[in-house]
């Protein structure tokens, strides 16, 4: 695998994860439990769509076949998406949505933090911008996880359930493969496995404050990073890509 092949894959992984997670969050629009949360969720979605534009823009540039960020977002089928599976999991309830966000944010902060020192300038520049957003997201999602975990009996039970349901999708964030090896060798990106200790520490601290019990299972669903998704992604894309597919060639 060449450096550029690996970089293309990596940029897709980052961009697709932001895109799909952002899409999920945007599904909340107008349906949150309080207005402040309508605003906060829209804000997170907005940041993630912005990150998508940067990462997929980079992917298109690296690929060099003239595909724009929009082409990549709207004209690939599910198997060419490289997002982490956790991003495509359905929203279910508000607590589940924020638990997913928290588990992701704790990873994103570590990943982006490392990427700010990337030997590839374009990566470092994107990371620097995205890191600030991710830190804010993490602060926010930690707060909600703690508030609901250490809230009422019902909110606690719902958060524990969300945690258990999402836990098997966290391992994928730290699974290294050839793409990661190539980029690590070039000092472009860290090995995902190297981020785990910091993530563990953060997650343990927040779950502790939230009075939630960390699941013991180490089982991890894999596949998102290589294009083997859950059944949920196809439905999401059918909706997301509708206009571009129905009216090919139009500009909007």
């Amino acid at each position: 695998m060449t450096r550029d092949e690996a970089l293309f894959e990596f940029a897709l992984r980052m961009g697709d994860t932001a895109l799909i997670l952002g899409h999920r969050i945007s599904e909340w629009c107008g349906h949150a439990p309080v207005i402040e949360e309508d605003i906060a969720l829209a804000n997170i979605a907005l940041d993630l769509i912005g990150q998508t534009q940067m990462w997929l823009g980079l992917a298109g540039e690296v690929e060099g076949r003239g595909r724009s960020a929009d082409d990549l977002a709207y004209l690939r089928d599910a198997w060419d998406f490289r997002n982490l599976l956790i991003a495509e999991r359905p929203n279910r309830d508000f607590g589940h949505t924020y638990m997913r966000q928290f588990l992701h944010d704790a990873y994103a902060v570590e990943m982006l933090g490392e990427l700010t020192g990337s030997a590839e300038e374009r990566v470092a520049a994107i990371a620097a911008k995205a890191l600030k957003e991710a830190q804010y997201h993490l602060e926010k999602s930690s707060e909600i996880v703690i508030g609901l975990g250490d809230g009422t009996e019902e909110s606690h039970a719902r958060m524990q359930d969300a945690l258990e349901r999402l836990w098997p999708y966290t391992g994928e964030m730290f699974a290294d493969d050839a793409v990661d090896e190539t980029l690590a060798a070039e000092s472009i990106a860290p090995k995902p496995s190297s981020l785990r200790p910091a993530w563990d520490a953060r997650v343990n601290a927040v779950l502790g404050e939230a009075t939630l019990t960390r699941p013991e299972s180490g089982f991890a669903h894999l596949g998102g990073k290589t294009g083997r998704h859950t059944e949920h992604l196809g439905h999401l894309l059918a909706e997301m890509q509708w206009l571009q597919r129905a009216y090919p060639g139009a500009t909007w």
Binding site: L19, H23, S26, E27, C29, G30, H31, A32, P33, V34, I35, E36, E37, D38, I39, A42, N43, A45, L46, I49, G50, T52, Q53, L56, A69, D70, A73, Y74, D93, F94, G95, I144, I146, G147, L148, D150, G151, T152, E154, S155, H156, R158, E239, M240, W242, L243, Q244, Y247, G249, A250, T251, W252
Partner: protein, 316 residues
């Protein structure tokens, strides 16, 4: 008029702002609560028709712009609920009034968004009409309301430009896009005209509200102004306003135009618009399914407060 009322009216006439702690007639307070509440509810319900297209926005940029817009609307709702709260009602009470159907929201949001061009039409026509209504309200007599309107107007005019930009792209696009744009104009034109309310001849509360400077212009004045502003914009887009009788009246210096179907307006108010039931259901569900979240977060805040208090006591 009592001396208090006299004094109050004098202050208004002198252009002074009324502030929350000032004395005010009960009617003034009630009218304001109704008006601000209704406006706030409109912002909140107004998230739904546009939210309907966020997951189907055709480009990343359009998706981001739409998200930001809907976020602004939630923000406007928040300012306005805060303004209403200065009049002694709580946000929860206002929400209950909305969900029980006792308070209304703008009937425009009971129309569906059926194509992407509708997102353009809402920005162009609905925000356009809203601004027309709101700009004068920056000079309304109640201080917190006037200040909220100043912030809101700034953002709304931005939204209107973005909407017009979508319409322009569509009107200059493929034949299908052009068809979408015209279709959106056809469907939103009369509902937008309705946003100014029935003719002042029909409007009961108008005179008092104008004396109190809660209302600054008459409905008909604003509607005319909106038509005069919008017709050239439609022409620039190359779209046809769905009113065969629309024409420039040299003498009046205004466009003559057909009034909307007020029967439809009253049907929609009665709950028979295309989307009333869906909109209320969406808001009710958001509220009910969010109950455990609000309770959970409140319980946590209470625990934290108690722990801090205990820690402070232990430290003493």
């Amino acid at each position: 008029m009592t001396p208090e009322e006299r004094h109050f009216q004098d202050r208004i006439d002198a252009g002074e702002k009324i502030e929350p702690k000032d004395w005010m007639p009960e009617g003034y307070r009630k009218t304001l609560i109704r008006q601000i509440g209704q406006h706030a509810h409109s912002e909140i319900v107004g998230q739904l028709p546009e939210g309907n297209w966020i997951t189907r926005a055709p480009t990343l940029q359009r998706k981001a712009i739409l998200l930001a817009k809907v976020q602004d609307e939630a923000g406007h709702g928040l300012y306005l609920y805060c303004a209403a709260e200065t009049l002694g009602v709580s946000r929860d009470w206002l929400t209950e009034q909305l969900l029980s159907g006792k308070m209304k929201y703008s009937s425009i949001f009971n129309y569906p968004t059926l194509t992407w061009a509708d997102i353009g039409a809402i920005g162009w026509l609905v925000d356009g009409a809203a601004i027309m209504n709101q700009v004068p309200l920056q000079r309304t007599s109640y201080g917190p309301y006037a200040r909220a309107m100043i912030r809101i107007c700034k953002e709304e005019s931005f939204h209107q430009r973005q909407g017009y930009d979508i319409m322009l792209k569509m009107a200059r696009g493929t034949p299908e896009q052009r068809r979408m744009a015209q279709d959106a104009l056809n469907r939103f034109w009369y509902p937008a005209l309705m946003m100014f309310g029935p003719s002042d001849k029909e409007s009961v509360h108008s005179a008092q509200s104008m004396a109190w400077k809660i209302k600054i212009n008459t409905n008909d004045e604003l509607r005319q102004k909106f038509v005069d502003q919008t017709v050239p914009q439609a022409e620039y887009l190359g779209l046809t306003i769905p009113d065969p009788d629309l024409k420039w009246n040299e003498e009046r210096g205004h466009y003559d135009f057909t009034q909307p179907d007020w029967n439809e307006f009253y049907e929609v108010l009665r709950g028979n618009g295309p989307c009333n039931a869906d909109r209320m259901e969406a808001r009710r569900r958001a509220w009910e399914e969010g109950a455990w979240v609000r309770e959970g977060l409140m319980a946590h805040a209470e625990k934290r407060r108690a722990r801090r208090a205990a820690a402070a006591q232990a430290a003493e």
